[in-house]
């Protein structure tokens, strides 16, 4: 494949695939609606007010998670890293569930809680950023366990009726994001642009910190920027859709297997690929046992794992 050499071609190819997937995802649902020719006003309303916002939210959130995953994998020098590895999802969940206890009938309060919680988690992690990659990872994992324990405590105190919302949130829920879709797409675009801008430094960082320094990269500053960027993007994704696992871990690896490990290609393809995977997962989640729905987190793993393992085997 020559796509990784020419990023405009790569972007064009991904835009094409994304458009196609979005078109199909718009059409399927409770019943098929032709997006180009809806037959009634109600169908128009369903297409543009129920399906489209959800699909675009899935795209933006999936892309952000994949980007954040790719960044964390370089930053921590660990292929197992994913957006939630440093406990940002845990602290966001603590924030969301606390908000749920204080303001039981406000979705907005829950999103605010998640957002604030995510930033508390980020602040905690940032204060360890001077540690090397391994110790930072260790600190993050321990913090994640800490947030997990607090979450369990809150869940034990939460009244039964609020648990449904808490569980739905923790398994990922794209149907009721309280952040406007355009803002998510904007964040996605900004993140992608930052990614492309930083990609050369990231490639150098991959050679090891000392080599990167020698090649003129200010490693300490780059790590801080990267940590902040990846955490911020994760925080917004978590606020919009709860914790959706697996996309952030598997998509960057998938893209490396397909396009090699130069970061310009990896980041561009992750931003699109993550979005496309999450649209596919969410569309399956809302249609496969229709009229009932499955949590989207179930599907990201069930679709992502086989593709990933297949590519892994083929490479070996």
């Amino acid at each position: 494949m020559k796509l990784q050499k020419n990023e405009l071609l790569l972007i064009a190819a991904f835009v094409g695939i994304a458009m196609f997937v979005i078109f199909i995802a718009l059409g399927v649902g409770e019943h098929w609606i032709n997006p180009l020719n809806p037959s009634s006003d109600m169908e128009v309303l369903i297409l543009w007010e129920i399906r489209l916002p959800r699909i675009l939210t899935a795209f933006a959130v999936g892309g952000m998670l994949a980007l954040a995953g790719a960044w964390f994998q370089v930053l921590l020098g660990n292929p197992l890293a994913e957006p939630y590895v440093l406990g940002v999802a845990g602290s966001a969940a603590v924030g969301a569930v606390s908000a749920m206890m204080l303001f039981p009938d406000s979705t907005l309060a829950m999103s605010m809680g998640a957002f604030i919680g995510a930033w508390v988690g980020i602040a905690a992690v940032l204060s360890f950023s001077f540690l090397g990659a391994t110790r930072l990872l260790l600190a993050g994992v321990v913090l994640a366990a800490f947030w997990g324990a607090i979450l369990m405590l809150l869940m034990a105190l939460l009244p039964e009726r609020s648990l449904m919302l808490a569980y739905a949130w923790m398994m990922g829920d794209l149907s009721s994001s309280s952040l406007p879709v355009w803002s998510l797409l904007l964040v996605w675009l900004l993140a992608l642009m930052c990614g492309v801008f930083l990609s050369l430094s990231l490639d150098k960082l991959l050679l090891g910190e000392r080599h990167a320094e020698a090649l003129g990269v200010h490693v300490q500053r780059l790590r801080l920027i990267l940590l902040f960027l990846a955490s911020a993007v994760t925080a917004i994704a978590v606020t919009a859709a709860g914790t959706i696992g697996f996309v952030g871990l598997v998509v960057p690896h998938l893209m490396r297997l397909l396009f090699g490990s130069l970061h310009k290609a990896v980041l561009i393809s992750s931003a699109f690929g993550g979005g496309i995977l999450l649209i596919m997962a969410d569309t399956t989640a809302r249609t496969i046992i229709s009229p009932a729905e499955l949590p989207v987190g179930v599907l990201t793993a069930m679709i992502g794992v086989p593709i990933f393992l297949y590519l892994l085997l083929r490479r070996a």
Binding site: E30, H31, L45, I46, P104, D105, P291, A292, P295
Partner: protein
């Protein structure tokens, strides 16, 4: 003399342990509907402990709490020296320990309207208040028959919004499904073999309900009315119901069903 007293005491104790009904049980009522039923059949004096949400009648709020719906504090429970524990689900953590410690476990999990009546009778037997229980059952049965004969409409398609975010409804083989059926409504998601399926707005639109029932807890009903009018049309009927009356399989169920029927008759469906 002392010997005689002791002997007599021993005999009393012996009989008490052999025929618990004579002694009066010491009951743990571990679900709200159990608590309500025991009060309704006059067995409230035998209740020694309850769980959170046992909030009706008001007097039940004073009962010692020994856990929540999902967990029982075995130590606190045993300290109350119970002889019987009436539980919703025998798999609740703590229940098997209670059984090992010699407490008789009685499951009570009615999922249909008829089973609610049978459950009242069963609890009457267990607690030795059969007479009151039978009287209550025949009263409930009479009210149920009267209610059934009042129903003048047929199979109105209804959407029951258990929860708004995430949007949850009642599936097949659930208590709510049966309650709806008994007052002549057709649960539009009644064919789903899930207890509380998560669904999306699209499916509700496609199911074309004529009526939406919203339990009046934890949500802004006026917002839900605006929401459903937008998606299901201005002529959709929306009523609210007190969830404690229709979600709890207890003796107040008929109050809830009567309330629903009164509201339905007011709608001219």
């Amino acid at each position: 003399m002392g010997y005689c007293v002791r002997k007599a005491w021993f005999i009393v104790c012996f009989f008490c342990s052999v025929f618990p009904a004579f002694a009066g049980e010491r009951i743990l009522a571990l679900a709200p509907h159990v608590c309500e039923t025991l009060y309704a059949i006059g067995a409230e004096k035998d209740i020694v402990g309850a769980v959170s949400y046992c909030d009706y009648p008001k007097a039940a709020l004073k009962l010692p709490r020994i856990g929540a719906y999902n967990r029982i504090n075995v130590e606190a429970a045993i300290a109350l020296r119970p002889t019987v524990a009436i539980v919703l689900n025998i798999k609740t953590p703590g229940v098997s320990k209670l059984r090992q410690l010699g407490v008789k476990i009685v499951p009570s999990y009615p999922v249909t309207v008829d089973e609610v009546l049978q459950n009242v009778q069963m609890l009457g037997r267990v607690t030795g208040h059969e007479q009151q229980a039978n009287a209550l059952v025949s009263d409930l049965q009479k009210r149920l028959d009267k209610l059934t004969s009042r129903i003048s409409y047929k199979e109105i398609p209804v959407f029951y919004e258990i929860w708004s975010d995430p949007l949850l409804t009642a599936g097949n083989n659930t208590f709510i499904h049966d309650v709806l059926r008994r007052i002549g409504l057709r649960n539009v998601f009644g064919s789903l073999a899930l207890e509380a399926p998560r669904i999306n707005v699209e499916s509700v639109i496609a199911a074309q309900p004529k009526l939406v029932i919203i339990p009046s807890e934890n949500r802004d009903v006026s917002k839900r009315v605006i929401f459903w009018k937008k998606w299901l049309g201005e002529d959709i009927h929306i009523i609210t119901v007190n969830p404690d009356l229709v979600h709890r399989p207890g003796p107040r169920l008929l109050d809830g069903m009567t309330d629903l029927l009164n509201q339905l008759e007011g709608l001219k469906l």
